[in-house]
Amino acid sequence: MFIIWEGKVDSSNPFIPHLATIQSVTDLTSDVKLFRIELNDPAVQENFDYKPGQFAFVSAFGIGESPFCITSVAHLSEGLEFAIRRVGTVTNSLHELEEGAIVGVRGPYGNNFPLKDYEGKNIFIIGGGIGMAPLRPVINFILGHRDSYGDLLVINGARTPQDLVFAPEFDTWSQSPNAKLELTVDRGDENWTGRVDLVPNVVKEIKPSPENTIAITCGPPIMIRFTLAALKELGFAPRQIVTTLEGNMKCGLGKCARCNVGDKYICKDGPVFNFEQISSLFEEA
Amino acid sequence: MEKQIRDKAKELLSSQAVDCVIGYGRATDGVTSRPLFVYEPEKADELIFDKTCTHNLTKYLLNRKGKKTGIVVKGCDSRAINVLLNEEQIKREEVSIIGVVCEGIVEVSWNQVSEILQTRCRYCHQHAPLVYDFLAGEPIKELLPTGEEHPAVTEIEAKSLEEREAFWSEHFDRCCRCYACRQVCPGCYCTECFVDSLDPLWVGIRIAPAENQIWHSIRAFHLAGRCAGCNECERVCPMNIPLRLLNRKLANTVEELFNFQAGLNAEEMQPLGTFIKEENVGIG
């Protein structure tokens, strides 16, 4: 009698994504598309619960997978939405796909914006370019629970007016009660009558009070750096300023050891951190 | 000779002609050597030179662009200096070359120093550097090569196609793609190596025989007419892949076709980096 021991063979390999179908693709800017994706198994889709700030890996089979923040709000939209900028091999490949194409989705991963803790507070959103993608669900969540939060101020910057990612939603955002939307661009065009300024300058100009306020920011590293300085100047304490980090991650499970910032993993301990946490990290976030 | 190197390094650092001298120091095994970066004149006494100083230090110059650097260079390494000057990767005025006269380096590995001269040293023609600012060691009469030139290359050439394929497959199959060969090579300085490129994807992600073969073949071709023959790639390979044979074979071919050897001077353009219509060598 030969000894063959049985391993715990199961199909729950955490790297195997759920199959999903692209329901719609919308051009948001020249290089950003909004993908609405539904998981093929209705039961899995039904149980795919996620919170603003969480991310998922989307697979373009044959090329690979990359992590993207989920830009929709659970139960407010059908399926999952991802705003994806064409910037590398996986995103190039996803941009080639059309409605009906099969992709893979695994997640949700990471922590989330602690919106429960922010109830009763004013929310100040500062986003630049594709950095609006993780902030959009925060805005829409707050607008969906309008009475639970104070004032909502959104500063959204982009390179040009055509690069303002969520333009179709601007009316909804700005016309909501106690909500204000400030747009700014680096370079205007003949139709642009709004601000032409850098995001941090707009923050300094508008001077929102730090009192009972949480500032949530995401955008290019250079924008974050100067926005952070501007917010500090206005009296925001580091723990009142929240951001979400990007990393070159391969698993989302704290295993591939690629997204650590010091002794924290972006995928497991983040991606949402406040600047008090970030300043205690060993490495530059 | 060590004293000459140390004194020169001290002088270069004290006069602030350079802010770092790259030379050789003793390794932690106590018997072999390792690259040593000296920033303070008083540390220059840690510099050594002996028959274990096998490293080609010129690779490090690529990390020090725009900074004044002193560097200890053997004859073989000086060919790499010429290649890098020719390819405009380093500026002559930024580099102070402490040339050393070398009578050959022995086979060394961690904690082991043999008495056997390295194969490349047995047919060395450059016991003194081709380019230097200061020469350490007695200018000796050129030593005659004591070994038969590239015997192993001839041996492989004599094999049949199938035998050669088997020979290389056996070696490439072992490759773990640590890229030590690339990282140590002064000729490998592409901003993005073809093997790392995702778009276009030249080599699949697998660490497996087919991909390994592509990796080594293309890398060898990229070095044809540019490889200075320092043999660092073969030395650092944890899997003992005889990379020298590949590079030597291509160097021989370039020499036969174009009468060109890499690194003999900094002026002459390498043949595969130029196109001369008249230079019809019967390829294609």
Partner: protein
Amino acid sequence: MTQIISKSDLITWLNKLAESHVLIGPVNDNAGVTLFRKVSQAEEIAFDFTNTTLSPKEWFFPPTETLFTVERKDGQVELVPAEDVEAKVIFGMRPCDARGIALLDKPFLNEPADTLYQQHRDKTALIGLSCREVLPECFCTSMGTAPDDSSNMDILLTEVADGYIIQVVTEKGAALLAECPEGLLKQSEVTPPALSSAATVPIEGITEIMAENFDNVYWERLADRCLHCNLCAYVCPTCYCFDVRDYNDKGKVERVRTWESCQSSGFTRIAGGYDRRAGKAPHLRQRFYHKLFYFPAEFGSVACVGCGRCVKACPVNVDIREVIMDVHNLGGQSGQQ
């Protein structure tokens, strides 16, 4: 009284095991490289090896491994999980390498468990071999193991004059020994001589000192010499960073995981080019902080077993023993650039 088996009987037993398992052992290559390889007969095993070039981690965390394949049929897509792994017996596991596997367990089996790794672990038995010789680069006794450490093994063999003393450690090991043909095991009263590794490394208190020295210019200086190849990570029994990408061979698509190292230039670069850990020194610092600070913080132990492979293989003598000693000498005062 202990059980002992002669070398020829050991070969007989291993060949018996090879009938129902994939047998893996150290094999000498023609090029002077020793690797853990599948053998069809125990006679192919290099019984007199010291330490292998690559650690046996490659049998649990292979350089390249398929996670699943993508099958496309009639417009439908199906994801097929990787095939079940084979039942393996690895002979010749050194105590340091076995500890390496025990350390790999920590990230890979941490919830949610990496099911492929788990399979490799569950379906592999380790027949260890105590070290007879301590190499100049070895420092296992400083790293929580020893040349005759039986923990992390299923069976440990220790070579003595007339054979191998057998220590059964786990039930899996007992099951393997039950496969041993009758009459091969003898009783013996021989006690093998004790060995301890040559070098001792002051590992005590290292994490506390590491915490103080993140911005020390020491790491810049160390990185001067480093070539930033992946060699140290690939020979290391405890390095486990990986890459995941798709392998597309004329439409046959597999998602594969491969070894990767924190030294590679694109390790932290994200699409678009931004790299928050740009530069050579932060890359090398990551290696030592992961081993000596982050891993201990997360899993309670330094990620080094003292096998000495990186010490021996590094082309430019970046020696972790020296780094540990240097860090101790840096003390609590962070150096200024």
